[in-house]
């Protein structure tokens, strides 16, 4: 089994423009998808994130940590939420990513976690 990060990429402005009833449908669809991940036994963790404007970046590489307001990258699209799933291979991960993307109506990036180092 391998763990994959399914991250939802979206645009805050576009999300803000979604009418409330559509948003309700989306929440229901994502809730159903979460339940499916859990009943399939592939769920590790997942959750929605607050808007990217609430992000703070910490750079601890120097002598003193430097704290700055805002997301790491100045882009229009940010991670809006994510799931971590545990499945046998990429085909399975892509299948869940497609279902997750449909549920939240956003693009989902699939990234494998590094394999556990051998004991």
């Amino acid at each position: 089994m391998a763990q994959y990060l399914l991250s939802v990429h979206g645009n805050d402005e576009q999300y803000a423009a979604v009418p409330p009833e559509t948003m309700q449908e989306m929440f229901a669809a994502v809730g159903a998808f979460n339940e499916r991940l859990q009943s399939d036994g592939v769920w590790v963790f997942g959750g929605g994130l607050e808007s990217a404007t609430t992000a703070t970046v910490v750079d601890g590489a120097g002598d003193r940590p430097v704290v700055t307001d805002g997301p790491y990258l100045e882009t229009k699209e940010h991670i809006g939420g994510f799931w971590i799933i545990d499945v046998p291979d990429l085909d399975k991960a892509l299948e869940y990513a497609a279902a997750g993307s449909k549920a939240c109506q956003g693009r989902v990036e699939v990234r494998p976690f590094q394999a556990e180092p051998e004991a």
Binding site: A2, L90, L94, P112
Partner: protein, 420 residues
């Protein structure tokens, strides 16, 4: 089996056998060891062993089996040396997996498995084709780079990146499920077509025609056709490949390429022609045309004509017009221009070809573009320009038979010019 006299010819023989067996070897090693890099390294070591051993002992009766066994042993040795608990555990398990080498049967599926892994949609399209040519076709990185008109280092990086992604993202090694199969097919078909083309007009300076590659593409296309009898494009591709393969023997005479018009049609493989025509009829009955089906239909028109003069060129142009609605590429337009020359004359065709290169300057590095121009200029008796075009075509191809043909055609121009 007799050994070749000179050591150099034995080396060539070993390399030929190795290349012929490469796809089968890699596919079975990947299945056994679950890792492409291990498979490639072990295959490379088996080649070194063969180069040491075969010149003295001769090529063994079942060279593929010898290479598979040797490569398997080398891979196990390597895993043991790495001395990791997991590796040891795997190696121990593998010792019991003495899958015998079989030329047919499950081995075919191994290669099919590998082709679907190489053509996975999570890989960049150009990487899919490159990986398949390398791992199944046994082409070198240099040959693939040439086929794609990119520098060798670029191609090597592309391949390394793709293999890392297969391992890191866990792209599975299997034939996709029935529901995913149609979607995954397009890339596989494109790959088989390119593998065939590489064999049919080899880019390298070695053998002009590499029957092991055309044969390999057809073999894999047949497997796909058996697996997916109702996918019209699979049928179309197989039809296209067998109709092209049918002309292979007549296409090179004494090391010189023979153009379609000059080919001895009695030398065509009638069995393959009949098979191809039956497949094209199957496609027509289904009436869901696609790129490969249309190319096959064009080839069916050619192979249907008892002589070149009997070719139904209006039908050929009509089929190219349909093809352009699906695939409006400069290569299709170039091929259409060749048919237009037969129908409307060389002048009209040349104007079209010159418009094409103005719109797509990259065509100028494509040898077939210069060949087409040279032939059209020759017909228009513009010998000096034709000679330049033959020179440009010669500069753009390493294929020995094509070079011989182009040199001959260019030479004939000089004679034509003397009276003037």
């Amino acid at each position: 089996m007799p050994t070749a006299g000179a050591a150099s010819s034995t080396t060539a023989e070993v390399e030929r056998v190795f290349r012929e067996e490469y796809g089968r070897l890699i596919a079975s090693l990947v299945r056994r060891f679950g890792d492409i890099d291990i498979a490639e390294e072990a295959a490379g070591e088996a080649l070194v062993a063969a180069l040491e051993k075969w010149p003295g002992s001769g090529v063994p009766p079942n060279p593929g089996g010898w290479l598979t066994t040797t490569a398997g042993n080398r891979a196990i040795d390597r895993l043991r040396r790495e001395n990791q608990r997991d590796a040891k555990h795997r190696a121990a398990a593998m010792l019991h997996d003495d899958t015998p080498h079989e030329p047919t049967g499950p081995v075919e599926d191994d290669r099919l498995r590998l082709i679907f892994t190489c053509c996975h949609p999570a890989l960049a399209p150009e990487a899919r084709i490159a990986l398949t040519l390398r791992l199944l076709g046994g082409l070198t990185v240099a040959e693939i780079a040439q086929a794609f008109l990119v520098p060798e280092t670029t191609m090597a990086q592309r391949m390394t990146r793709a293999k890392k992604k297969i391992a890191g993202a866990r792209i599975p090694y299997r034939v996709p499920s029935a529901e995913d199969l149609p979607d995954r097919l397009d890339a596989v078909l494109a790959v088989l077509f390119l593998v065939f083309n590489e064999g049919y007009l080899s880019t390298g300076p070695g053998d002009a025609v590499r029957a092991e590659l055309t044969g390999e593409a057809i073999r894999l296309a047949r497997v796909l056709h058996r697996l997916l009898p109702d996918e019209p494009e699979v049928t179309g591709l197989l039809a296209l490949l067998v109709l092209t393969e049918a002309r292979r023997e007549a296409r090179v005479r004494d090391g010189v390429l023979v153009s379609l018009a000059e080919q001895d049609r009695g030398g065509w493989d009638r069995r393959l022609v009949a098979e191809g025509h039956a497949l094209v009829r199957e496609c027509l009955a289904r009436n869901r045309p696609g790129r490969y089906q249309l190319l096959a239909a064009i080839n069916a028109v050619h192979t249907d004509a008892p002589t070149a003069a009997d070719t139904d060129w209006s039908q050929v142009v009509a089929l190219y017009d349909r093809l352009l609605t699906i695939d409006p590429s400069p290569i299709v337009r170039l091929n259409r221009a060749v048919a237009v020359a037969e129908l409307d004359g060389a002048e009209v065709a040349l104007a079209e070809v010159d418009r094409l290169v103005a719109a797509t300057p990259a065509l100028a590095s494509y040898h077939a573009f210069h060949v087409t121009r040279a032939e059209l200029l020759r017909r228009l008796a513009r010998s000096a320009e034709a000679r330049e075009a033959y020179d440009a075509a010669l500069a753009a191809t390493d294929n020995t038979a094509e070079r011989a043909y182009l040199t001959r055609r260019r030479g004939e121009l000089v004679v034509d010019e003397r009276p003037g």
